[in-house]
Symmetry: C2
Subunit: 695 residues, 2 copies
């Protein structure tokens, strides 16, 4: 791992500001920023002082190389033969795509009888982090410009070129990661393995036991695991770096580490940014989830075929609804907001005390607040004057824009039409599967009804799309009258270019032509404001980074982090939650709901209950700092042995997105000894257990 940049950064930024700002506030606010440490700046002194834990570089390197990233999740290599442990919910596409025609492994589970029976996962890959390099100076030098928008464009170009150069010269997947809101830029290099096979997956009924109700809660009873294997050159990977298994697993009070890829947090956001999320973005998001869920739940209620088709979408929307409700609850919590306000007040006061820093950073908060106010002022118009609410309308919007955008030089295009995007878009338009027009009509009607409530009656969007009709009538006419659900018709329009688009009388193309300029106007205005916010936020990131250096971990960026914590129960529901649950509890919760979904257990779990040690641990909680993206992360002990695998946060943990706390916020994991107990007793997968245990 490239580490030389650390000294350089301290040389660059440590100075009077650090001296003035760091020490006094550090003690007061350090904890609120959590423990998502990067591997190039592990907090060795803090670990030593807190846990008497002093890992050497070999420990860190092994753990980093064993903690591999999935496209949207985390995972780890857990045997010398490339066995990979992750969550069932991270491997869904692999599990369903590897099912034979007449079976659905999601439903019935899968256990390879032997290594030879492992099944290829279409399109799946894992990325292994090879090295990290500081590229802050290079990016900052190349992105100087007069306006924030111009800066943002230059920065995007230099980042793109750094990534492309790296990819060419190393053969690795290269990504420039923006840390501290631009206080620091790091180039991450990954080795990609793209032959991944399914070894074992339990039935969804036990992997996602308790379904949406129990999602984001604890006590919990989920065997949310999947076992994959990395192949290289058609052979199981001969892994040099892997995590050994702890059969005993997590015990109450243990110090444990989570290594994975938290997706995003907002701990460095200003009050104005958080208030914008709380009052503008989240309420609209929640309304949109609720709107779509209402349609999908109703339309799938008595229709098992549709229910299966929309199962993943409904799960994903419910999950987002629960998560965003939890995030917003933090922003509505007066204590939490008071903490943020106190930090901001103190930090602003410190900046204001020095004329140089005041000049450099002092205006950022007000500039951000003003930009957020302006964004809020036209949020509804920007949100609803769009191609949203229908996949066919979205494609109509792309079909309308492709000719015009193609005609412009790359740098003048809308961002989503730059580089290879247009070619990718064309392929998707030409190959997309037909939509369910009944669902499409209902979803578009719901979107238009929301637009009608949100916009003034004379809004040009409403005039263009509704044209005096009710939302339902408009949606019926648009979806009923379009030919765009036919791939050939779409391809003909795309191939026909500007002339074909202009001549089309397809009702979706007609309205898309009218929406296009309305949408472009506001999205350009919003982009300018967001660039300004990013630019001011970068200043704050620099100021904070200057003050604290890497003693504060950066916000999450879906890159590898290591978080420390303890296995620990917590006060809940007027009593105490134990640090772990049991198989007894699993069967209990199922019985207590009469075995009705989502509390039903798979047949082999009912048949083999007696063979289990029912007192064995199934799930457990710890104080590690995680968020979406951490799913599938290994939980390891001081000896880098796997004691569990992260699969969720409790609902009390969701406000950690903005302020980290560990009084009642907990990470939820599957316990390693629950995994081996189930593999042996329920799944008869002794050979997998032996591999995990290194025998």
């Amino acid at each position: 791992m490239t580490r030389h940049f650390r000294a350089a950064l301290f040389l660059l930024l440590a100075g009077p500001l650090a001296a003035q700002v760091a020490a006094p506030t550090l003690a007061g606010y350090r904890k609120e920023f959590g423990t998502m440490w990067t591997f190039d700046a592990p907090p060795l002194e803090y670990w030593k002082a807190t846990y008497d834990f002093a890992p050497d570089q070999a420990w860190l390197d092994n753990v980093r190389l064993a903690s591999v990233r999935l496209p949207n999740c985390s995972s780890s290599i857990v045997s010398s033969r490339g066995l990979v442990l992750t969550n069932h919910h991270c491997a869904r596409s692999c599990i369903s795509s590897s099912s034979p025609r007449d079976t659905n492994y999601i439903e019935v589970g899968f256990v390879a009888p032997s290594m030879a029976d492992e099944r290829k996962c279409q399109g799946l890959y894992v990325d292994q982090l090879q090295s990290v390099e500081d590229v802050t100076a290079r990016i900052r030098a190349a992105s100087r410009a007069a306006t924030a928008t111009a800066q943002a464009e230059r920065r995007a170009r230099v980042i793109d070129s750094i990534q492309t150069d790296c990819q060419k010269s190393t053969g690795f997947q290269c990504q420039v990661v923006t840390l501290y809101q631009g206080g620091m830029y790091s180039l991450y290099r990954y080795k990609r393995y793209d032959d991944i096979r399914l070894v074992m997956a339990p039935e969804e009924g036990v992997a996602f036991f308790g379904g949406d109700p129990d999602n984001f809660t604890f006590p919990r009873y989920c065997l949310d695991i999947a076992l994959l294997r990395i192949y290289e050159n058609g052979q199981p990977l001969a892994a040099r770096n892997f995590l050994r298994w702890s059969s005993e697993g997590a015990q109450d009070g243990d110090v444990v580490f989570v290594t994975g890829n938290p997706g995003s947090t907002g701990r460095l956001l200003t009050m104005a940014q958080m208030e914008y999320l709380r009052d503008v973005v989240y309420p609209e998001n929640l309304a949109a989830y609720a709107r779509q869920l209402e349609v999908l739940r109703e339309i799938t209620k008595n229709d098992p075929e549709r229910a299966r088709r929309y199962d993943n979408t409904i799960f994903s929307l419910s999950n987002s609804e629960k998560a965003v409700t939890g995030y917003r609850s933090g922003l509505l919590d007066p204590d939490l907001m008071a903490k943020k306000r106190a930090f901001e007040r103190e930090f602003r006061a410190r900046i204001a005390r020095d004329s140089r820093f005041r000049a450099q950073y002092g205006g950022a908060w007000d500039a951000i607040a003003a930009a957020q106010r302006e964004l809020a002022s036209f949020d509804k118009a920007a949100r609803y004057r769009s191609f949203a609410g229908s996949q066919l309308l979205t494609m109509a919007g792309q079909i309308v824009r492709i000719p015009a955008q193609s005609a412009l030089p790359d740098s003048a295009r809308l961002p989503e039409y730059r580089g290879e995007a247009i070619e990718r878009m064309k392929r998707q338009i030409a190959t997309a599967a037909p939509v369910d027009t009944q669902v499409e009509t209902r979803l578009l009607a719901a979107q238009l009804a929301a637009a009608k409530r949100a916009l003034p009656a004379n809004d040009p969007f409403l005039q263009a799309v509704l044209a005096g009709r009710t939302p339902e009538a408009a949606a019926r006419a648009l979806i009923g009258g379009t030919t765009l659900n036919d791939a050939a018709a779409r391809k003909a329009l795309v191939d026909g270019g500007a002339a074909a688009v202009a001549a089309s009388s397809d009702p979706l193309i007609v309205v898309a032509r009218k929406i296009d300029p309305l949408q472009r106007l506001l999205s350009t205005r919003a982009r300018r404001l967001n660039a300004l916010i990013a630019s001011e936020a970068e200043k704050l990131g620099q100021a904070i980074f200057a003050a604290y250096g890497t003693s504060l971990p950066p916000d999450a960026t879906f890159t590898l982090r290591i978080s420390d914590g303890r296995v620990k129960g917590y006060p809940y529901n007027g009593t105490v939650a134990p640090y772990r649950t049991s198989f007894y509890g699993l069967y209990g919760r199922s019985a207590e709901f009469g075995g009705r979904p989502p509390f039903n257990l798979p047949a082999r779990w009912l048949a083999r209950a007696d063979s289990l040690d029912l007192t064995a641990p199934l799930n457990f909680v710890s104080t590690n700092d995680i968020i979406g993206g951490n799913s599938g992360s290994p939980v390891i002990n001081r000896n880098a042995q796997v004691v569990g695998v992260i699969f969720d946060s409790n609902i009390e943990g969701l406000p950690n997105r903005f302020v980290f706390t560990d009084e009642v916020a907990r990470s939820v994991s599957v316990h390693s000894s629950g995994i081996t107990e189930a593999l042996r007793r329920i799944y008869g997968a002794g050979w997998v257990v032996e591999e995990l245990e290194g025998r």
Copy 2:
């Protein structure tokens, strides 16, 4: 049951106020006043409309006569041979007093092998409600007087004489019950059965599984039952009225009724009264519980003998601490207080609209508020200038006062020295067991330390008791120097009368002589204010009763009520609580805490787990309206069959003391089929099950 008074009351009070006030507010606020119906005014129309349930008078009479009252709890007759079902925690004194010398049935449980082996409970009795008579007019006529204090004294006298007359003429236990804060007075007549024997009690470990942490919560796993039997003339009672057993027990969604004796609620309190509780009474109560618990927990920590001795006290203090915290949480809940405020505002406005009612009732709210303010102004002095904090100091206070109070005519005495009170007090003083002086010293020191924090340094109480010493030194000197822990010394002082008390140099008597006038002054002042509040509250009770009649149930009075509700889960902890738990869940929660107390299970439960149907229901929740005093109440279905026995409320239910809600507030019961499952499989008490099931 005497029912003629209902017509009379309506004649007396129904009039223009009822016409104006009742209809419009009833719909809006009815529900907030809960469902603790009296048996003489069952809400037949509401039941018919809500549940299509129309019990006849025979149903109601049978249920009333089968629902017998214990000294501090509720219970029911559940067989034709006088078997009584209640809670383990209601039968503790019976269970421990009936234990042989070398055994503690509280710990190891008890099952009578046959009826002949049932064991007498010393001092226990049950009361069976025979009839209810309206005595409002008689009491109101006899208690007219110029001042609130004089009214209160007259009322006390007429109540006393009604009770005495009734007792003499009927041989029943007679009690005048104040309903609607004096809006209505009813004479309750009870038949008392005082030969009660223990049939079966489980081990405390499973009766109170989860201990203080799980107390007031759900999901829950307690076999909190005890079975007693009423004997009459040395034979098991040949019960004409009893509840039959439902082997199936409570099912999700069932309509169920709870018949028992809720102790006290405050749903008719004014905002000023509730704020006084919230800001003055409850914080002081909570501080007192915490103070005593701190001493007792510390002193019993490494002392198993003392731990046993103070186990009940610690439980009772913890229970009160959790309950009062819950009650107060309601008063701190802005939504709940907003509801109360809205009701009060509307009710005041309605009263103010009519000049006659304005004159009669309109001043009550402000008068109560003023009295509460005055009480608050000297609350700390009244609270701490007292004999509290030490049993010996309390006795010293009584010893000092007995001669002076005895010399006064009964009506001029302090209320607690009237009638037979002095003789009872003398007997207690002469027979009280020695106190643990180490505990006594610590508790008194804690009380004095609290007094020192609360009172100004020159307060005469502090000067008298501390006399310049630290609280610890004063407590050591007082408890170390007194002879009052010797019953003979106390008796000598009592027998010696005023002269002996005046001559005593016992340090506790010396300080008690100084505290006496200080305490009397403030308690008299507080009594006057409380009488005024009661008198004004009575007006409001009359106004409310006039408006709503018995369509609103009265506040709880530890008399028999019937509450309707449904068996129903609820949202909790971000997910849903099932309507019932299971034996699986019991073993799960124990395993999840490693079997450590209070989550340890008795040996026979561990040995016989395999013989149980682990999916069988153990506890369940329903929306019935209960509060302390309801412990041991039967839960019955439409056919008056026992489907369970109440033993707790969830923590969300505690604010129901002030405003009834049933969104998440729940009553917690032991399930009837869990009871028979345990009796058969764990306790080998098949003969009891057969009796319950009527075979």
